[in-house]
Every structure is written in structure tokens, then in C-alpha cells.
Amino acid sequence: MSKSYAILPCNGLDKCAGCIAKEVALKLTETTDSEIICPVLYRVADARYNKIASEKPLLIIDGCATRCASKLASEKGLKIAKKINITDEAKANNITITDSLRLGENELKLADIITVKLTKAEEKIESESSFSFPKDIQYEIYKKDKFTFRVPKKGFYFNENDCWVYVNGNIARIGVTDYVQQSLSDIMFFTPPSVGSEIEQFGEAGNVESGKAVFEVVCPVSGRITAINEKLLQAPELINENPYEKGWIAEIELSDFESDKDFLYDFSKYFEVLKRKVDEFHV
């Protein structure tokens, strides 16, 4: 594993949750290439840890709701990459932790579960990035009142129903455009298409829903769904944040892109369509 954390645990010595935080930190250094920042020493001599803190993504492990580690991180102006709270994890896993400061069977089990979860999360990020997606997308912007509508200038195709596709070899990523997310406003639900299913061009690739309406994702291409953006299940608001990047909907193995393409717009044509729609319908 190439990636690893700089771990800032709370290390609370007078509470069981604090002791578990320490155990998780230790386990992570054993199974990954992570390094620990000692919260006690860090407070008095931060120079010692500045290098680790700046080089690796920071993982905060808090024991209880006092969140000493989080506070220390914000005091020192550190950028937090991931955060975990032992008490919350115990609740989520239905494990009762005792008041004892020596770790018992339950506590060790919890430490294991959390460690596995943290290492897994790491692997997942890597597997997702296997689809090579452009990093610096340039957008053309159209504004109406206080609303901003972005359309990526290069590499994307669109259909008339405000969905986009970005092709990479025989795999494509699909999603909705800013017109959809601005019209829906706060998106609260994402119903994904099922992985493995075959979809025709203009078939339904799941839907997104806000308090205002349900929008059916009209698939711009035909093929077989190979992946969905699982982050959207918990955080559909990512579509509002950026429907082209974090808020992508699904990946699809293309069956006949050359003929699908006849029914898609490139940037300049879609931008015209978008402007007209915004002027006529966006309220």
C-alpha cells in the first residue's frame, strides 16, 4: 500500500474510549505505512511533527465527544483528511465499552473493526480512481440572477435531457448537468441503476430526487452498468456540489458509442441548449 495516514489520536488515558483510540492508532501503524503524532508532545513541540503532518493525509481519532484531537488539529491549523470517533463507532457497531482502562475482548474487537474499516476505505479510494478522469476541468459559465450554470468545455458529450457522458476507451462515466441540480435544488435521494444491468440509449439510469421533483437520469449511451458512485447513497448533495466531478452517477461499459454519438451534443451545442432552457424555464 503506497498511501498512508498521519494519525493524530486523542490518547485519553483516563477513559476507555481514549485507550481504544490509542490501540487503533497502533494497529494502523502495524498494518499500513502510517505514522503517529503524539498529541502530548505535539502540543509542546510541534516542529517535530510538522513534516509528517504536511506530507500525509491527516487522520483524527477522537475518543469521546470532547474531541480533543480534533480541537488540537484545528488549533494547529491542520487540514483534516479523515475523522473517526470511537464512541460513535461503538454505538454504530452495537458494542458496549466498559469504564475499565484495560482493554477487554469487546474493546479489542471494536479496535479491529475500526482498523479494518480505515484500511479498507483506503483501498476503495484507490480502486475508484482506476477510471481515469480529467483533474482540471475547465468550465464555461452561464449566470442567471444568483445561479451559476457550469458546462465542461472539453471531452464531455450531452443529451437533450441534461445528462452528460465522458468516454475513456470502452468505459464511460455518466451524470447530470448543473441545469438538473440547480432546478431540483437540494438533492435528498439518489436511486442508482443496478450494477450489471443493460441500458439502452435514453433508458433510465436511476433517478435523483429533491423536495421539488424526481428527475429520471436519461442515459446518454447504451451499455452495461459496471459501477455506481456509492458515495451518493449517503451524500446525494455531492451532485449539488459538482455534478461533473464528485457527483458523477455511474460507469458504463459501452456497447455502441459510435452510433450513440449521433444523438449527443458536444459542448458548444449543449451550451446553447442550456442557455435557452435557463432563460425560458429556470425560476
Partner: protein, 98 residues
Amino acid sequence: MMSESTFMGVPREKIDWSPRIDYDKCNYCMECVKFCPHNVYGIIENEDKKLIVKNPDNCVVFCRACGKACGVDALSFPNKNETTKMIKQIRKGLEDNE
């Protein structure tokens, strides 16, 4: 509206895509009328069937959003695959004639 008269290069009036109202189910709550920003529906007062599809060609091809706003499920749409096939055929015909 001239600007809207084609869909993917095909004259809009040649594409049969618009909602069908099941009058046995419709309770005339008019949610669809309120919902659709494209003025697809119309209301005729003093008629039994006072909800009608007034401007079918205003309907956005492949959009079924009003159907999801209908509480009694009285709205249906043509089959998408067949509509797609039809559009492709018409497009091909137009290109061959050029």
C-alpha cells in the same frame, strides 16, 4: 416556440412523446398542471374530463417527471426503446433525402 421545434435534429411533431391520461384513475388534483413548466397540460372547465394534454409537442422527449408527481399513477408514456428506434429511423430517412 420555434427554438424548440426539433429534438436531436428531428422535427418535434414527428416524435410521438407525451403523457397519456388514464381517466379512470385521474382525480383531477391538477398536480401535473402545476408541476410541468412547459405548458403541456390544459384545463377545460365545465367538462367531465377537464384535464387534457393541450400541447403534446411541448413535452420534453423522454421526460416522465410529471408522472412521478402523480399520486394516483394516472399518467403513462410511450415505450422509450421504441421511441428511440423511431427517432433513429426518422433521422436516417432525413439524411438519405439530403
